[in-house]
Symmetry: C2
């Protein structure tokens, strides 16, 4: 018998995240390692009367694509991809890497070309219903320094898939976040204090977004884009940023008038500064997010989970999200996570909003 938590996760994705309706066309993308989850989602979509499109790729297709693809494979999408996206009502995408560093040796130019070529399709995709989730693999467990069994427990707890009624649990988290957002209405200054950290910023007139499992599964965060010129102070990030097969660890940033004027990392310092120098927006904050998912308590080097750790905030340098009112533009969006569970504090216009990772 297959893991009943997989069927539970499939039900959450179809009935809560993507809200599949009869006669809609919804794609399920992922590699073959995620087949048990793909099958379960396929079945649940059929039950709802949806036309499911399975876009399952061989485990090593992406490696082959970057190794063997010709120039036109990277800078021109075939026409069917453009027409397909127009006919989709939604997409469910599953990440299930069997090697999180598989693309370490790929020329970044190929990735940039492909990213540019697929931008119109990606933008179309984001206008439809969409959700991103993860199927537990040994590679993710390895990054998290856990056994696969323990990592599965972690993933299914974080997605509420081990609960009797996961959809109810997600609705309840959404309501809790609504209450937090209501408390933040009209707020101006947010101040984050903690070990080696004292950072102030204004969120005046900006919107907080309630992220409760419709686009990311799991989710559990509220986020906004701070006033770009308002950020002042210094911050020490407890967790490394893991990107492009590299870990940037022990990051310290100092902001003046919204701009990072000093940036150091204990590991990969040069890489950090190169990334911040790529365009003017890369040295400004694009996002302030507050993690609320109490089922995520440990760092696993996977941003889908890490940024939602209940009791942390994440501050992303680079591109902001338009729906928050944020105006920062950059090719970068790097989430950096600050743990507030031990001696941290968030105050809003001078009043304590969260202490030691717990909302007051």
């Amino acid at each position: 018998m297959s893991d009943p938590r997989i069927a539970n996760l499939a039900r959450t994705l179809v009935n809560y995240s993507i809200r599949g309706q009869s006669r809609e066309t919804i794609s399920i993308g992922g590699n073959s390692v995620a087949e048990p989850l793909i099958q379960a989602i396929y079945e649940e979509l059929l039950r709802k009367g949806v036309y499911p499109i399975v876009q399952m790729t061989p485990e090593r297709a992406t490696d082959a694509f970057f190794e063997l693809g010709k120039k036109h494979h990277f800078n021109e999408l075939p026409s069917y991809q453009k027409s397909l996206i127009r006919q989709l009502d939604g997409t469910i995408r599953i990440i299930s890497d069997t090697n999180t560093r598989a693309l370490s040796g790929v020329d970044p130019k190929k990735q940039q070309m492909l990213s540019k070529a697929s931008k119109p399709v990606r933008e179309q995709m984001l206008k439809k219903k969409w959700v991103l989730t993860l199927f537990p693999t040994a590679a993710f467990a390895q990054d998290a320094e856990m056994s696969l069994g323990d990592f599965e427990d972690f993933v299914y707890a974080a997605t509420f898939s081990n609960e009797k009624d996961p959809v109810k649990a997600w609705h309840s988290l959404a309501s809790m976040q609504d209450r937090l957002i209501r408390k933040l209405r009209g707020a101006d200054e947010i101040r984050i204090k903690g070990p080696e950290t004292d950072l102030r910023m204004s969120v005046k007139g900006r919107r907080f977004i309630n992220s409760a499992g419709t686009h990311n599964m799991p989710s559990g965060e509220i986020f906004t884009g701070p006033i770009e010129s308002s950020v002042e102070g210094h911050v020490y990030y407890d967790f490394p940023v893991c990107v492009q097969g590299r870990e940037v660890d022990g990051i310290r940033l100092t902001f003046r008038k919204g701009r990072v004027v000093e940036a150091t990392a204990e590991k990969n310092n040069d890489f950090l500064n190169a990334m911040l120098d790529q365009d003017p927006g890369a040295r400004r904050l694009g996002e302030l997010g507050i993690g609320t998912n109490r089922q995520i308590q440990r760092f696993t080097k996977n941003i889908l989970f890490d940024e939602k750790i209940g009791g942390t905030v994440h501050l992303a340098v680079g591109q902001s999200y338009a729906e928050t009112g944020g105006k920062n533009r950059s090719a970068l969006h790097w989430d950096m996570i600050k743990d507030l569970r031990k001696g941290g504090q968030i105050t809003v216009d001078g009043k304590v909003f969260q202490k030691n990772g717990k909302f007051v």
Copy 2:
């Protein structure tokens, strides 16, 4: 290391069967059990500059579709399927059943509805480049009463994938078949004799088609549609017909003026006669095929291989192929195989064309 014969088969399919060209869009369809072959074809298509579309489905997707699908899933295709087929230059389809009887319990009405709904897309598909092949699985080996290893040897021998230059071997088979077809030019009466068998038919004005691995991999047959009213005599089929999870064994047919006037089977006799009674064309021959593939010597209950056994003929009741000049119309097309390797003979206008399965 994966089986080098898989990469060989992939090269044959891409370079010989489908002749992939730069910037074409070609789909690869199959279930996840065939992943090693799908990956190898994907890589070979990339090398040729083709845009590959992988349409890999979970092993149990079809079971779920028939079990859980709503009425509209069977009688209406989603619009993207229609637009996708228009944008394809070719399709490579792999069968890789993990259970050849998985659909035994499915209501045949659902299959008929789906077959009808997908007819326009299927017809479009057949106007493009297409090839059908098989990836060896335990289920096919089981039907063939072989171990998986032996069945793999059989499949890769039949597709010439264990040869140094499979494409050259296919070209050579095509030339040999061309010579046979030239010998048959202007032929009128074909007579097939063997144990319990003496059957005459006219092929006057009809065309023989050279099937040498472009649409079926493996192939190795030449076929035509006999003059519908000309078939006279009786035939005993040595191998069972395996269809819809049933085996019809020990079939004997008697033809008068082209029509089956008597049909008996030692096993599933009622089913045989019900099938022949479904429409007027079902009691007439639609095809005479002559198998030529010397690497296929044993019956495996899989028509992709069986009808190509070197030294056999197959006589299909029902629908004929338009390209042969055949005019028979029927919802049925049942290939029945007659072994001529022991005491059989084909004569063309009184001259021996094949004896004991060997061309003279």
